[in-house]
């Protein structure tokens, strides 16, 4: 099964004398055949629905959420298990884990239809209720969807941290915020730890389509709990390890030491023909001119039928040279993703400055973001930026802040700021 993943490395291998910081982008693609063997899914699939039914959901939102849940349950294939947790001040397991047979689906749909909104928001308890269900099927492909519309109760801060720690690695979860009363940073933090995506559903009527997309993506996953393994030479240091495409996820802090020189980072489940890019920055001991050293050996590992599989080995090299023409060059792909990370930072800090009332700073940062988005061909982000600023010249990043910005436009820009474009090859 070594052909399940393919890797490619982009870097400038030439390092100037005395330096030791190596940057490299690794592109990983899962092959057509990944998961073709059904044995990969011997543990089955378990999909969890975690839905906010606090008082603020009342009205159009709860109606839309109930409809979307009914549709979702209806769509589940019969070999997939599912459960539903509804969230208020405590998480309530509305339907415990069961296989999606027509009978079970009908019972779950009936239960969902009875749901009434009320109470407060305490996300830690919802996650714990979901965790209990996921613990029943440790070998399954474990994925969930969390929907909320409001910010979490202030006193849930510590319990949420503890709950996330328990849930880390136990399941993956995509997070969605409906309306504009939720906090982007809060959901992003949950989704980051649970290796999921974050997005805004501005209007309740868009919920159904979005839920369907999430389920389709979850059902497309064919190999779970894949880790990125990185070997580095003795005495070196990993300065960072980030997923940079399709969106930026900093994995540096998620490192698990598996040997004296080997570390692993979680990447979650993979579907067929999926491509992701990772950016490594490794500091090695500077060598003498002419030395050639392996600065990193990266591969993807996953367990299948209790056998560890390893694929997509990629090598990151360092060759010391005194020829500046070689070492001063920055690889195009590395430069592109350095720019995209900078773009995300500029947007987040720019919106922050705008919220604080520091308009000069906000104009400068968002202007820079427009310039970078334009130059790198990140059209989706540029379009979202145009909802927040009037662009006078995209090339130079000359912008004016808009006086009236819809809250949902600002939140959409914030949540999607980490989405990157891939560099145009060739």
């Amino acid at each position: 099964m070594n052909n399940s993943f393919k890797a490619e490395v982009f870097q400038n291998q030439y390092v100037p004398q005395g330096a030791g910081e190596i940057h490299a982008i690794m592109t990983v693609t899962s092959a057509e055949g990944v998961g073709a063997a059904t044995s990969m899914l011997q543990g089955g699939r378990l999909f969890g629905i975690i839905c906010d039914i606090s008082g603020s959901m009342e009205g159009g939102k709860i109606i839309a959420a109930k409809n979307a849940m009914v549709q979702l349950i209806d769509m589940l294939p019969s070999d997939c298990a599912f459960f539903v947790v509804t969230g208020q001040a405590v998480g309530n397991t509305l339907c415990p884990m069961m296989l999606a047979t027509p009978d079970a689906k009908a019972r779950a749909i009936a239960a969902v239809k009875q749901v009434k909104a009320g109470g407060s928001t305490c996300i830690s308890t919802w996650l714990k209720a979901a965790l209990e269900q996921f613990r029943l099927a440790p070998n399954a492909m474990r994925q969930a969807l969390l929907l909320t519309d409001g910010q979490n109760e202030g006193n849930d801060e510590e319990p949420l941290k503890a709950a996330l720690k328990q849930c880390e690695g136990a399941f993956q979860c995509d997070c969605r915020g409906v309306g504009t009363d939720w906090k982007v940073e809060e959901l992003r933090r949950i989704a980051a730890i649970l290796l999921g995506t974050t997005d805004i559903i501005a209007q309740p009527n868009l919920m159904e389509a979005d839920f369907k997309r999430i389920l389709a993506k979850a059902l497309g996953k064919s190999v779970g709990d894949v880790s990125l393994r990185l070997w580095t030479p003795a005495g070196s240091q990993i300065l960072f390890c980030k997923q940079v495409s399709p969106e930026i996820v900093d994995l540096t802090g998620r490192m698990r030491q598996v040997g004296p020189q080997v570390r692993e980072y979680p990447t979650g489940a993979w579907g067929k023909n999926e491509t992701r890019d990772y950016h490594f920055c490794i500091k090695v001991k500077p060598g003498a001119v002419g030395d050639e050293v392996l600065a990193g050996r990266a591969s993807l590992v996953y367990t299948l039928d209790r056998v560890e599989n390893k694929g997509a080995e990629a090598r990151i090299l360092a060759i010391w040279t005194d020829d500046e023409a070689k070492s001063a060059k920055i690889d195009r792909v590395v430069a592109h993703y350095t720019g995209q990370a900078d773009l995300a930072d500029s947007i987040q800090q720019g919106l922050d400055a705008r919220a604080r009332g520091d308009l000069d700073q906000a104009t400068a940062l968002l202007g820079k973001a427009v310039r970078v988005a334009h130059a790198s061909g990140n059209e989706a982000t540029e379009k979202l930026l145009r909802n927040v600023v009037d662009v006078q010249n995209a090339e130079t990043g000359t912008v004016r802040l808009r006086a009236n910005v819809a809250k949902e436009d600002e939140m959409a820009l914030n949540t999607r700021s980490t989405k990157t474009t891939r560099v145009t090859r060739g």
């Binding site: 890797a7 002419g290 130059a375």
Partner: protein, 229 residues
């Protein structure tokens, strides 16, 4: 495969290409395929016995044997040698030989650059230089320093950043110190050129510079070199 591979630094490596301890390249290892997967098929060069390249290359890494035509290889090529500088300055870095000895640590020469704006250098079409700027002094402590203009999108962060002067190229010139302590300047193909003591520098050529030299570039930037040994 219990056999260990001997690393040039004396470690026992469990990997055959690069040492599993320190990452040093193992002699006779297959060509460094930085990309893609390992090829399971391994063959040896019929000419010199080195393992055949696994990265799809048709030449033997060691002797240059052509696997496709069977043509005999030549002397191993030095790919890392920089193009020889034309008018060789007194002490340019020697082209690196294959088993390069430990380089002598550079003699402690202190280089200080004073960056000034000199409106008299201005061309008729140049923009007005900023009137309120004061000379900047930059101590060059690295053995190699890039002179240029910062670009965040292109991730260019020069040691000597002349951001105010838009006629300076992002990657304009390089100041480097060779092992014996001499300092050279090389224009790396800048758009508007570099002048040393009022004479144009040929691009991509190392030129020795000394205490008191003046480098002018861009619209109106003048750099005065101060070297103390």
């Amino acid at each position: 495969m219990a056999a260990f591979h001997a690393c040039p630094k004396g470690h026992q490596s469990s990997e055959s290409d690069f040492c599993s301890e320190c990452g040093a390249k193992i002699q006779g290892a297959p060509a460094a395929a930085a990309n893609g997967q390992l090829n399971a098929a391994s063959a040896n060069c019929p000419d010199c016995g080195a393992p055949a390249p696994t990265d799809g290359s048709i030449f033997c890494e060691i002797c240059g044997y052509n696997f496709r035509t069977g043509a005999r290889g030549q002397i191993p090529m030095q790919t890392d040698t920089p193009p020889p500088p034309e008018p060789t300055p007194v002490a340019a870095a020697p082209p690196d030989a294959a088993p390069s000895p430990e380089p002598v640590p550079p003699a402690p020469v202190e280089i200080e650059l004073t960056v000034t704006i000199d409106p008299s250098l201005r061309e008729p079409n140049s923009p007005e230089p900023p009137a309120d700027s004061i000379p900047q002094t930059i101590a060059v402590d690295k053995s190699v320093a890039l002179i240029g203009r910062r670009s965040e999108t292109r991730a260019i962060f020069p040691e000597i950043a002349l951001d105010l002067d838009t006629a300076v190229s992002h990657r304009h010139a390089i100041l480097s110190r060779s092992a014996d302590g001499s300092v050279t300047l090389r224009d790396i193909g800048s758009a508007n050129g570099t002048r040393l003591n009022n004479r144009d520098l040929p691009p991509m050529t190392d030129v020795a510079i000394h205490d008191g030299d003046q480098v002018t570039l861009g619209h109106w930037t003048r750099i005065i070199v101060k070297a103390k040994s």
